[in-house]
């Protein structure tokens, strides 16, 4: 179950699949996303509540055909310029949007994890979202007649998470802000996880959030695998990097140069970090 990230991606991620790299601000699996870019996967249908920088990079790198999402910005900074370029100008490919609200997408993941055909919410009231997303429908409550909004269940081919720890049996521990990570994991056909540490004993608190070994497809040990997002207890979110990204991503050439230098020409997350550090030392 424990394998190199390169092998895990090569073995499980295929062109055309539906992929959810989850993690809400915290525990975003950047290293896995970079490896997917390096391996040149194409035509992916990406799902994430908040596409964040990692999907901006994957979209800009040409991996994605479609995006299911609920908020597509650089949090606290502004736009995801690669996402915008794909949507507004079709570069490098047009991007098909399946757009939801957070509550709707959360309900869709939860329905997927529960193997219900749809999720429901008192939501989407008075918004135009239902007009542009035919997946947003409704059912009549069998007790009151009230119309309740529905979303179809999500079942990603693969969900990829980053987590703090795994033990040698393959149990995975997450803590801190977990977003819809557990639901995305249990909704998927396969689950890949990168972790900060592999330990003998998780030392988990009662009722800790654990993905048990028999639902985990593969685990890769990738320290700093969530950087520039963060792993609580290990390193902080590099907010300065998120601020910098605005300039890097705004321009196609700058973005491609960044991607080439730091992702395509590095073999793994450690090399990616060394590349960033080298660059920072040169351009203070």
């Amino acid at each position: 179950m424990l394998m190199d990230l390169k092998d895990a991606i090569a073995q499980h991620v295929e062109d055309g699949q539906t992929l959810a790299l989850e993690g809400f601000t915290h525990l975003i699996p950047f290293a896995a996303g970079h490896e997917i870019i390096r391996q040149g996967r194409r035509d992916l249908h990406l799902i994430r509540m908040t596409p964040d920088l990692i999907y901006d990079q994957m979209i800009g790198a040409g991996c994605a055909r479609a995006l299911t999402f609920s908020w597509g910005g650089n949090p606290g900074v502004g736009s995801l310029h690669r996402l915008r370029d794909a949507v507004e100008k079709g570069w490098p490919h047009p991007l098909e949007l399946h757009e939801h609200s957070h509550a709707g997408l959360a309900a869709a993941y939860t329905a997927g994890a529960s193997h219900l055909p749809f999720g429901m919410l008192r939501g989407y009231l008075g918004t135009d979202l239902a007009q542009v997303n035919p997946d947003i429908r409704s059912v009549a409550c069998p007790y009151t007649g009230e119309a309740i909004a529905t979303v179809p269940a999500l079942h990603p081919d693969i969900t990829i998470l980053h987590a703090q720890k795994a033990d040698r049996r393959g149990n995975v521990l997450l803590h801190g802000i977990v977003g819809a990570g557990k639901e995305a994991a249990l909704a998927a056909r396969k689950l890949l996880v990168t972790v900060e540490e592999v330990v003998e004993d998780l030392g988990a608190a009662p009722n800790a959030i654990i993905l048990p070994h028999w639902v985990v497809t593969a685990i890769s040990h990738v320290p700093w695998g969530a950087y520039p997002s963060y792993a609580q207890g290990y390193y902080e979110r590099d907010n300065a990097f998120y601020l910098d990204w605005d300039d890097i991503a705004r321009d196609r050439e700058t973005f491609l140069a960044w991607l080439d230098l730091h992702v395509m020409h590095t073999g793994d997350q450690a090399a990616f970090l060394r590349s960033l550090a080298r660059c920072a030392a040169e351009v203070p």
């Binding site: 995801l80 507004e88 509550a103 008075g126 977990v178 819809a180 990097f241 450690a270 970090l273």
Partner: protein, 262 residues
Amino acid sequence: MTAPWTPDEMMTVAAARLLWDGCVCFVGIGLPSAAANLARQTHAPDLVLIYESGTLESRPSVLPLSIGDGELAATATSVIPLPEIFSYWLQSGRIDVGFLGAAQIDRFGNLNSTTIGDYHHPRTRLPGAGGAPEIAVHARRTFVVLKQTARTFVPKLDFCTSAGFLTGSGARATTGAPGLGPQVVITDLGVMKPAPDTEELELVSRFEGVTTDQVRSATGWDLRIAERLETVAPPTPDELRILRDLHARTRAAHARRVELPC
């Protein structure tokens, strides 16, 4: 005489003052977070801040850049899965105040944060809905904060992301939305509230030094002005000091690079 504070500061202070001690507030990033934390550090120490990332009762000492900075989790009473935030906390009617921003607002407080131009061929693709559509529906009331220009205060939204009063005059109530809708809109010029009958926004107060004409010309429709137009009291020295300290700590924190392990 130039006011010794910026319009942004006045806007944040005015928004902060609307929050009362003990109120449960669903906070977005940016101005809402600044206003809520200013309130918590001034008159409302027991304000309960809920961030959509899953943190209940966060007490950050700097403003988060993202909705899910580590500080929000580390200082929270409880951190829960995101689906529960929306089902058990927002949809359940447990939020007193939802704070919303937007790129466009219309006269009935409906909000656009999705696209400028046609949805399928947008001139500008904005981040999108996030938690807003359901905050707009379920929070007992919402406060909207945005800068006022004729481009943001528009006669017709390019896209309705989040419902305000829809077409007004009770239209919202017929949808079954449990929340009362946008009770206050705070801008960098003044404060608007819905008229009791039509539910159309009207200017109820302006900031010191701002003229009615200035507000009108920053509004894309013929803005109604309340009969008794108030002037908002300027920031107190305490409010200004605490807000500036908060921003200074925040700027320092956000500029601090994470040291890479190599």
